[in-house]
Symmetry: C2
Subunit: 716 residues, 2 copies
């Protein structure tokens, strides 16, 4: 038994702080419990005693008889610790804390919250809240909230929320929008139970078909991804994640660091887990209804059935915008339509039956479209038909929709004239939307979900098999020996110290993970540079070596294509002078010499440690312009090879690796390997806070890819 | 008097085809005219005669007595020409044709439509339709549609539509959403009157505060821009333009041609005219209410007033997404809030008054926020307050909102519990939306409108003053002499012929418009190339010269940086061989020699002739990757210098002209001039169907910009 089971299937609930006063939350909760027709035992506690809703009110928690396994505390914050102790002693292992006045109010409240958590843990008790409006299961049924009635209709959409106010609003709004809910949890301050904890318990509810989440953040990123991934295989998850702009930015040293905002991390995490991210509240619940009520989508071909041209054009646009396409109707379908419709009707998709379309014509045409193998889903558009009632059309098409194995969404246009149709469709659990744009967006989400499931099925079982030739022990040795050396030379280093790895250390680290690098040799004089270059073979490149100059080209610290020793000697002096003039304070270690790589395409491959989600890999257009161009994509490290492919293909830099016009195809395979290997390195060493190869030179097909320059920051 | 005046202020209306049969459109229109309380004369015509709604039914149009200046024809298509003749003879100069069965049904219908237009023109009669559901003025009042009642509420939003079904749906929907309309026109097939014609007549209505348009396209692009520009100075225009994906693509030869889809032309035209483009129907009317009801916005600082944290976070996100920002509240404002609110309320923006917030607290806090000079607008968030009714809050804040000179939008969360509040706000003409995201989008559109008006005020009166040194006569001479020469050598050239201008012609054309070019000399042998190069000075570039090779680098037809005569001779032979191997059929005229330009940044500057809007200029990242990178922007040519600036700054290529990291600032001024000059050239010569400089080399500041390569297509 999961430790959260008592929250969702309690045998008995005790309301601590139950009240006779209708303006008190303790009254509201007692009322909702009783009115919700909860079948378990209902107990009330209040020092004043007496009776409430024909039940005794106990003065103390210790007096509450069996069965009781869930406590809901609606008493002021200061009294909560004592009440929790009493609950613990009474043998309760689950409690909801309704009161505010904890962490959200400052240091004192935070201390009180910590105290509550410690008490709970000492009794192995799980807590929801504080600052939670409670939870609801419409099918058990159980309404353990203090919200004014009526509660939500029984339905199939679950809602998990970081905000109690949004819970209350959604309950009221969903009732108005005509869809029901299954389970609803207000998580409050999450002193104990958080969004990752409740996912599985909510998903196991057989009535829940879709889970929606209002998230202001995620506590433990990887755990959320792990839990959500499991759940999303079974049931769709839709998240509205807010707080995009609230986080302060930490200082960053690399392009990857600058580009990897927390939003990119959330997007990468949601993509990995199969969580669908909604942009607005309306979108989340528009999508939830389609996912809850429609059969799975099997392709992108949409047929539009309308009785007017304008809405059909609007629908056609919206369908393309949502990544779907108008289906090419089969010849027989057109013939069938022609037999039903007047001669001037449009038999092409969108099928315009004209304003005279009858309920019977709607139903017959819909049936024809659904049986067309080119058609994977249908959008039925219903402006008020001038000759018939929209309600009659609804009644006529609903049996056809129910019999279909393909999704049908309805765009109802208007308000009063379509009200009866709205009610028929809602009762029949057919998703209906005002105007075609929202209906198209609902089809779009069905397609997103289908893509996710297809990807799951195509993925090999061992998703994250380790690449051969990534030598973690060797890499650990390289880092340890460097840290050792640094600690010998410095007085004090702790976890807040950020070290820039010297080029030779970093390049050997990359080599330890099988990332091809062009050897780079650090030299300290011009003549040493010339000798080294002669040994490597011309032409060579020179780069300034300084821990204080992260972007070498900013100080003209790079010279390319030097063809002989005299050019190298002069180049050495020039680079050192450039660097000195640009950054007089910088510690200059010398210059590195590197043989020029054969020409090819250049990309950036990077990784950072995200505060929420840990290692995050990046791929895209490199060079100095990477931050301006923003042609980059992100994924949670380590990556599956499919994720690496998707990251590469979602950037222009990645697309053109396959060749573009006169640009020959490059060794995309090798670039992908470098991405996978760098992601693995970042995942294996969280101390590497930033890691970046820029550029990675990708040679023509089958000729490999080489890190030409790289940088990394290490936590001390 | 405008020839469209009779449509909007008729002295008398005759319904041709008025009917007793309630299932006929001719009955519906007669009924609506009478019920709408139209104060002019109402006449009915039907060969059967009799009486209808206590009025005589005339058998013939000729019998209709004065006053009558508008006819509405609700008779089958075949009878329309004859009826129009009768109307013309009776002295009518305005008619609405309701029937379908014209152009939309094919060639026969199109011929009938043309016939109707010819008849109308022979009587100087203006036509709306065919296939129009009619028009409405709620203030006159006049309802000349056949839609089932009730019509729209009287209000301030006008609606012009290409689709009759969408008119009908919008009327019904707007009533449900609680906002009124002013004028409404269904344009139907637009045989005569089109969207550009009705703009001014609709805008002159004093009751109309905002004009919304449902457009499936635009007939005459430049005329629409001219009319819309005039109207948008006075009243906001919002367009929902659909049919994005319906147009077939014509064959194109340049990057500019490939990128300049008709959507880019529409966006450029709307930007020029000040038309705000909505993405969805819901957005259009959400925006319309804010624009109609709010005072002008004067800055981007938004204060959020809420009684719960979650909706505040959602609002903060949505505000940033819409290009606004949370205002930093002044110290006095915080002090004032502190005096009103409980100690744990959040006095930072979003201001969270806590769930206990009373109607009086809402009003007092709102007043404080509105008087803060940092605050330019307020979003008031109202989830059902647990202790009070949302309706009471609405009543308390409405007077504060009415007294304010800053916009206040309301995000109401829920449905049943906020219904009373919704009704108060609607009656008070305060824009209210479900959830904060839509409210933020409404504030965003107020900001868009304010930016447009500010731009108008900052623009010099002579917007499109001609640049000095654009010699149209010289350019005409160059084109004429080229065409003359071509026509001498070819048998047959007509308007469908597309000619690729030879480099020397094109470069002299550019020079005639003051666009700096590096002289390019066409040579026919390797030794000629070497001699020419010696004369120009080394290093030089060689490029293949062939009318059949638009993209020279595709065939390795470019060699750069040749340092001496022997390199040039070898280069000549290599290029010609490369071109021959890649395109054996191409006609090769030789090779051009050009001195290498000093190094700098490279951009693309182009222009095409758009089918709807004429000359369209483009600016952006050039090179071979332009079509992949899509870092380009468009504007209607000729451009104002402000438009050129905005085009440049909206691309990454343009932004980095100001310098980026180690990249020194380039001569942005010169690049802008080239853009302006090329746009002028395209505007002056519509026969130049495509025109492109790629790359334009932009040297460091004050050193100019040079066209290194260019191409142009000329209509024969």
């Amino acid at each position: 038994m999961n430790s959260l089971t008592p929250f969702f299937s309690p045998h008995g609930v005790v309301v601590v702080g139950a009240s006779h006063d209708p303006t008190k939350l303790g009254y509201g909760l007692a009322r909702n419990l009783v009115l919700s027709n909860y079948q378990g035992a209902i107990h009330f506690v209040n020092p004043k005693g007496g009776s409430l809703f024909s039940r005794p009110v106990y003065a103390q928690i210790s007096q509450v008889p069996d069965p009781v396994d869930l406590a809901v505390l609606l008493i002021p914050a200061a009294g909560v610790p004592e009440a929790l102790i009493a609950c613990g002693k009474r043998g309760l292992r689950a409690a909801v804390i309704g009161a505010g006045g904890f962490r959200e109010t400052g240091a004192q409240g935070a201390a009180l919250e910590t105290k509550c958590l410690q008490i709970a843990q000492s009794y192995s008790m799980r807590l929801i809240g504080p600052n939670s409006i409670g939870l609801i299961d419409t099918h058990l049924p159980l309404d353990a909230t203090f919200l004014p009635p009526p509660g939500p209709l029984a339905g199939d959409v679950a809602f998990i929320s970081h905000s109690g106010a949004i819970c209350a609003a959604v309950i009221d709004w969903a009732r108005g929008q005509g869809f029901g809910m299954s389970r609803l949890v207000s998580l409050g301050n999450q002193a104990d139970v958080n969004e990752a904890d409740v996912l599985t318990p909510v998903a196991t509810d057989p009535y829940t078909r879709v889970i929606t989440l209002y998230l202001e953040g995620v506590r433990d990123g990887r755990r959320f991804v792990a839990e959500a991934s499991q759940v999303a295989r079974q049931k769709p998850l839709i998240a509205l994640k807010v707080g995009r702009f609230s986080g302060g930015r930490r200082a960053v040293a690399s392009h990857t660091g600058a580009l990897a905002g927390s939003e990119n991390a959330y997007n990468a995490a949601f993509r990995r887990a199969g969580v669908i991210r909604a942009g607005t509240s309306q979108e989340m619940f528009d999508w939830a209804r389609a996912l809850a009520w429609c059969p799975p989508l099997r392709g992108r071909g949409v047929a539009v059935l309308t009785n007017a041209g304008g809405p059909g054009v609007t629908a056609a646009d919206a369908i393309e915008i949502n990544g779907l396409r108008l289906a090419d109707l089969a010849q027989e379908t057109r013939a069938g339509l022609a037999a039903i419709l007047p001669p001037v009707a449009s038999l092409n998709n969108p099928v315009d039956m004209l304003a005279s379309a009858s309920p019977e014509q709607y139903a017959a045409c819909l049936k024809l479209l659904l049986s067309d193998p080119e058609v994977d889903s249908v959008m039925l558009i219903l402006p008020p038909p001038p000759m018939y009632s929209a309600g009659a059309v609804a009644k006529s098409v609903i049996p056809v929709i129910h019999a279909a194995e393909k999704p049908v969404v309805v765009a109802l246009m208007g308000e009063r004239l379509i009200q009866e149709a709205v009610e028929h469709f809602r009762a029949a659990r057919v998703p209906e939307y005002r105007f075609p744009e929202r209906a198209a967006s609902a089809l779009g989400v069905l397609s997103t979900r289908a893509d996710f499931l297809a990807r799951l099925n195509s993925q090999p079982a061992a998703e994250l098999e380790r690449l051969p030739g990534t030598n973690q022990i060797l890499a650990q040795g390289i880092l340890d020996s460097y840290l050792h050396q640094i600690k010998d030379s410095h007085k004090y280093i702790d976890e807040t110290t950020s070290l820039t790895l010297p080029a030779e250390v970093l390049f050997s680290l990359l080599a330890a993970y099988g990332i091809p690098v062009l050897p780079e040799v650090l030299v300290g004089t011009a003549s040493e540079a010339a000798a080294t270059a002669r040994q490597m073979g011309f032409p060579v490149a020179l780069k300034i070596a300084s821990p204080d100059i992260p972007h070498k080209s900013d100080v003209n610290g790079i010279l390319l294509n030097l063809h002989d020793e005299s050019q190298v000697e002069a180049g050495y002096r020039q680079i050192v002078e450039n660097a000195y003039l640009a950054r007089p304070q910088a510690q200059i270690q010398g210059v590195t010499v590197q043989r020029m790589a054969p020409s090819g395409q250049e990309v950036i491959v990077g990784a950072v440690q995200d505060a929420q989600f840990g290692p995050l890999a990046m791929f895209g257009s490199g060079g100095v312009e990477v931050e301006g161009l923003k042609d980059v994509s992100f994924g949670l490290a380590p990556l599956t090879s499919q994720e690496a492919d998707e990251m590469i293909d979602s950037t222009w830099a990645g697309q053109k690796l396959r060749g573009f016009r006169s640009l020959p195809p490059a060794d995309r395979q090798s670039a992908r390997e470098v991405l996978l290997r760098l992601a693995q390195l970042a995942a294996d060493f969280p101390a590497l806070t930033e890691l970046e190869i820029n550029p990675l030179r990708v040679l023509p097909e089958n000729q490999g890819a080489y890190a030409l320059d790289a940088r990394a920051s290490l936590k001390g």
